[in-house]
């Protein structure tokens, strides 16, 4: 044993094997263990009257459970559910309370029985060291050796190595069968339903929006024309194409020269899908012109191309370039020019 630190444990004297005690301090003058504290007699042990009382209490508790069970059975029938939603509440409440009583009576009854009437003498039982005794370990080693000998596992290298190879490869087919869990997404994450000339329509009705309807300060939740009528892949498209439309004072907008033509008369449209992890950025604060994502509080400034002003997001919300058609309806100039939503590797 290296060093004095590795003193032998004195406490483990009762066990066959002595383990190193490491950094433990073994005190020579430890205060000695006085042994189990004397048993304290309960009232129910001393007085038959108390014991009889406890017995009655347990029985009453069990009887309460019986009452609860019958009550629950009755409540199931007595509180049917009809078109009136209040009946759901009544059914839930009374059935639940009946079952509560039925369970609680048994539970408290059993525990009360154990605590008052069953013996409460603490018993001490010897533990055995988890480690096997030397004989047992030697016997175990013998068994392994014998198995090795009989099978020739160590001796027959060819068998052993081919087996390793086989075992390493056999799970691969099991993995490959999961290949069709989903198609390779490819380019679809970069594109949405928006294209040149797609009308901006209201979510969820699909009614087209006239530029003149968008009053100053108002907000529209927008989907592309045609989405409302879709059946297949509607939600997938909506999860990319949802847009928020706001009209600001022209002088409040601080637009880049290159993107000046993307707005129309102070009306701007931005992707509603947060660039953080994809929640809808649905809260608009009118007087700061901030858009707030309710999931993780990323905040975007609508006056400055929805750049991130707060929160965990990194990128501005992509802007949808818009204009109006001959009838005065708002339309997209093109698709978004960058992928919407959360960041991904191939972006």
């Amino acid at each position: 044993m290296a060093g004095k630190d590795l003193e032998k444990s004195k406490e483990a004297e009762g066990f066959e094997h002595e383990f190193e005690s490491g950094l433990a301090v073994i005190s020579e003058t430890k205060i000695s263990d006085p042994g189990l504290a004397p048993h304290r007699v309960r009232m129910t042990d001393k007085s038959p009257k108390h014991a009889k009382n406890a017995e009655r209490q347990v029985a009453v508790l069990f009887l309460l459970s019986v009452v609860g069970s019958f009550f629950a059975l009755w409540a199931y029938v007595a509180f049917p559910i009809t078109e009136d939603l209040a009946t759901v509440r009544a059914n839930n409440l009374w059935l639940g309370l009946g079952m509560t009583l039925s369970l609680l009576g048994i539970g408290i009854g059993a525990v009360h029985w154990a605590k008052t009437l069953m013996p409460d003498f603490e018993v001490s039982e010897a533990r055995h060291q988890t480690r096997g005794s030397e004989d047992v370990r030697a016997a175990a080693v013998e068994i392994v050796k014998l198995a090795d000998q009989e099978s020739g596992f160590s001796r027959r290298k060819l068998i052993r190595r081919t087996m390793y190879g086989a075992l390493a490869l056999f799970p691969l087919p099991a993995l490959i069968v999961f290949g069709d869990l989903g198609p390779v997404v490819g380019d679809s994450l970069r594109h949405t339903m928006w294209k040149k000339g797609t009308r901006l329509t209201k979510d969820p009705t699909g009614i087209p929006i006239k530029a003149s309807d968008v009053t100053l300060g108002s907000v529209f939740h927008v989907i592309p024309e045609g989405l409302a009528e879709m059946h297949e892949h509607k939600l997938e498209e909506k999860a990319k194409a949802a847009v928020l439309l706001v009209r600001l004072n022209q002088e409040d907008l601080k637009e880049d020269e290159a993107k000046k033509s993307w707005s129309y008369d102070g009306i701007v449209a931005y992707s509603k899908i947060c660039t953080h992890v994809g929640c809808p950025v649905a809260l608009y604060e009118q007087h700061t012109h901030h858009l707030l994502c309710p999931c993780h509080q990323s905040t975007f400034d609508v006056t400055e191309h929805c750049k991130v002003v707060f929160g965990p997001a990194s990128r501005s919300l992509p802007q949808l370039p818009i204009t109006v058609d001959a009838e005065g309806y708002l339309i997209a100039q093109s698709d978004f020019l960058e992928p919407v939503g959360p960041s991904f590797w191939e972006r």
Partner: protein
């Protein structure tokens, strides 16, 4: 015995049943070996029981739900009795969840029982883990069982999350959206994993059925297996017990399984079930009809995940702005990756902690007597730091609610959480360690000089003293029976070299045990009792006074 001893027919129904079972299953020897197995008694040992019982409740209530729930995302027009949603386009999964709530007697109750007991399951498992940590129950030979328990906690969260998403409502749909956003952020394989999970683009029409398979088959099966291993190991190791007179590493002190624990633990199952039932009968949980069906566009303000996912959501919220990096044509969204990896590292540290502590103390003995948390000040401080770290992340998931409720700025709440995430654990570590050391000193004081009684006595010569009441030997032993370690100094090994491992270990041992406080020894006690103000003398003085 081959000679047919006149086989006596066992008398009575009970005896003949017992005989029948013993002759076929050998229940006799099982009962003989386990019937009087001793279990120690302490309220904190019931936390694991609560977790176990909530799992049983989950199986019972969950089975009921499978009879009515349909895991399909096909869109249908809702035509049930919940009027506000009549005519809305919803998925079959959502419609069947509404039907369970509004058409089936007891359906709402079972849904609520299932949800409440799921919340309770993870909570009880977490508290049980904290109990095991703070009492050092994870020490040899139980390190592997700690890992099994850790897996159960992770599986509990997995079961919770997969189930949470099944009703396909707006709130859980947004939860999935967040998961999708996080997965997409993983470099190289993120996009493919997301496509594989959702069967193409988010949300697709597959995810609910896939989560259902995981939720009702794979995850519960794994939980069952791990519970079996967990309990099997409890039988192998026998339960730990708290330090006290008569309790050692070589025995187990408590009450026998039959009849006391059968009654107590069996009764406790019914009590846990009753409490869950009472809550479910009186408190609404997850009112999916208020949230509406999933739609990627709307979202309600103040969205909150179930409590056990909160810390992960909080981690996402706390990431500072602008961490996305584009490099060589690829995107590295560190705003998502740092919380993700950070949480995994935190969980990893929780999993390996027993091995770290075992390495530092180099104590290879079996430990069956639990530590009082104060008697392992550094471990307790590390635990407190971990709890604080988790707690701040958890609170961070409610930054918006905190801001609206207390009428303070959301930005300030978030920034203070960011600061607290770093400062909080350090502060908690220091305060906890100092508190533990002070409590240990107080224990020493009480052992050496007895308890203060608050009675002031004037001695004949005019001196005033406070009477101290000596402890009885049982109480005293409770305060002195703990393991004490001292730091190690760097020593060269057999080859005369000082390895890096040795240095780290020595440094850690210093952090752990530098300011250790030893238990009172018999010699210290003797010395104190010999001293003038020792309790014994004061007691005699008092006797004289009262004459």
């Amino acid at each position: 015995m081959t000679t047919a001893v006149s086989e006596k027919k066992p008398e009575g129904a009970l005896a003949s049943t017992a005989n029948y079972l013993d002759e076929r299953l050998g229940v006799g020897s099982i009962l003989k070996n386990f019937g009087r197995k001793v279990f120690p008694d302490h309220w904190s040992f019931m936390l694991g029981e609560v977790a176990l019982y909530s799992f049983v409740i989950l199986l019972i209530s969950g089975t009921f739900l499978t009879f009515f729930y349909q895991p399909a995302m096909t869109e249908v027009i809702y035509d049930g009795s919940y009027v506000p949603l009549k005519g809305a386009q919803v998925s079959i999964a959502y419609a069947s969840s509404l039907d369970i709530s509004f058409e089936i007697r007891g359906g709402m109750l079972m849904r609520q029982v299932h949800h409440w007991s799921a919340l309770l399951f993870v909570a009880a498992a977490g508290l049980h883990m904290l109990r095991v940590f703070f009492t050092g129950a994870f020490r040899k030979p139980r390190e592997i069982n700690w890992l099994v328990g850790f897996m159960l906690f992770i599986l509990g969260m997995a079961a919770g999350f997969t189930g949470y998403s099944l009703p396909d409502d707006l709130l859980s749909g947004n939860g999935l959206r967040i998961i999708d956003g996080m997965i997409k952020g993983i470099p190289v394989i993120g996009t493919s994993i997301s496509a594989g999970l959702f069967g193409g683009e988010f949300p697709g029409t597959e995810i609910v059925a896939r989560l259902y398979g995981l939720h009702i088959l794979l995850v519960p099966a794994l939980i069952l297996i791990f519970i079996a291993i967990h309990l099997f190991m409890v039988v192998i190791h026998k339960h730990t017990h708290y330090s006290g007179p008569g309790r050692t590493d070589e025995n187990v002190v408590g009450y026998p399984l039959m009849p006391v624990y059968v009654a107590k633990a069996g009764g406790f199952f019914f009590i846990v079930f009753a409490v869950v039932m009472l809550i479910s009968a009186t408190f609404t949980i997850n009112p999916i009809w208020n949230y509406g069906p999933y739609d990627p566009s709307p979202v309600s303000a103040g969205t909150q995940p179930d409590w056990y996912i909160g810390w992960l959501d909080g981690a996402l919220r706390l990431a500072p702005t602008g961490l996305d990096i584009s490099f060589l044509g690829h995107t590295y969204p560190f705003g998502v990756l740092i919380p993700l990896v950070g949480s995994l590292v935190f969980l990893g540290l929780v999993a390996v902690y027993p091995f770290i502590e075992a390495w530092v103390t180099a104590d290879k003995r079996e430990h069956h007597v639990l530590d009082r948390p104060r008697n392992a000040p550094t471990r307790t401080a590390i635990g407190a730091a971990g709890v604080t770290f988790y707690g701040v992340l958890w609170a961070a998931a409610s930054t918006d609610l905190i801001a609206t409720f207390f009428q303070v700025s959301l930005n300030q709440v978030l920034v203070s959480m960011q600061v607290m995430l770093i400062v909080g654990p350090i502060f908690a570590y220091i305060v906890t360690k100092r508190t533990c050391l002070s409590l240990q000193r107080k224990d020493r004081e009480i052992v050496l000089h007895g308890r203060e009684t608050g009675r002031i006595v004037r001695l004949p010569h005019g001196e005033y003293i406070e009477v101290h009441e000596p402890l009885d030997k049982f109480e005293m032993y409770k305060l002195v029976d703990f393991k004490d370690y001292r730091p190690t100094i760097v020593r060269p090994n057999e080859k005369g070299k000082i390895t890096v491992g040795t240095r780290i270990r020595s440094a850690l041992s210093r952090i752990y045990f530098e300011d250790r406080i030893s238990p009172v020894s018999q010699s210290e006690l003797n010395e104190a009792q010999a001293h003038d103000h020792s309790p014994a003398i004061e007691a005699t003085k008092q006797e004289q006074l009262s004459k």
